[in-house]
Amino acid sequence: MEKFYLDTNILFGYFLKKILERKGIYKESKVADFLITSSKKLKYAVSILTKAEIVRKLKSEFGLKEKDIRNMWKTFLFEISPLYISVPQSLEEIYEEIVNIVFKIPMKKRVTNLEHLIIAKRNDLTFVTGDKEIIEKCKNFYEKIWSYNKLRGIYENKKI
């Protein structure tokens, strides 16, 4: 069964939707709705890096308390039931690969999504991201990189 490692943006959409619903705002969220529905059939994966980025955003932008963020993360795990990917490689190993990429490919953005890419590659997971630069430039480095659109399209055509 194909397993999908998600970048942080798609997950943040999930948290935001659930937060806004509490305030009676039912904005249509294709991202969060898709994540919740598709998690019944697809296997998703997250890592400590994903968790760190979500915590950072919820804490720094909105000042949420640690206890509350931890409880929100529990809900996410319960509802989406992702695999938790451990990252046994040392930082040195991960960044050695990133250095190899940025030597060969001119990348304009910061390296966080490349860190995700290495984690996905090392765990043989399909990396699902909205980062166009990664999608367009890094296929030669790792072929299992999908856009959100591709994941949704293939899921809806029931090819998965």
Binding site: N9, R22, K30, G63, D68, I69, M72, L77, P82, N149
Partner: protein
Amino acid sequence: MVNERKMLSEKEREEIEKSWDRAADKVWKKLQYWKKHNPKKYRQFWREIRELEKAFS
């Protein structure tokens, strides 16, 4: 790879519900604050959400 999901007790569920309520209050207040005092940040926040939705549609 491990599955972090575990069954939640009734007490845990109640605590989690309260956490979401507190989080919703804080996020809502922050959004309203941005809307009034930092409209640039407010627009940027929703622009990023719209871009994510667009990438998905």
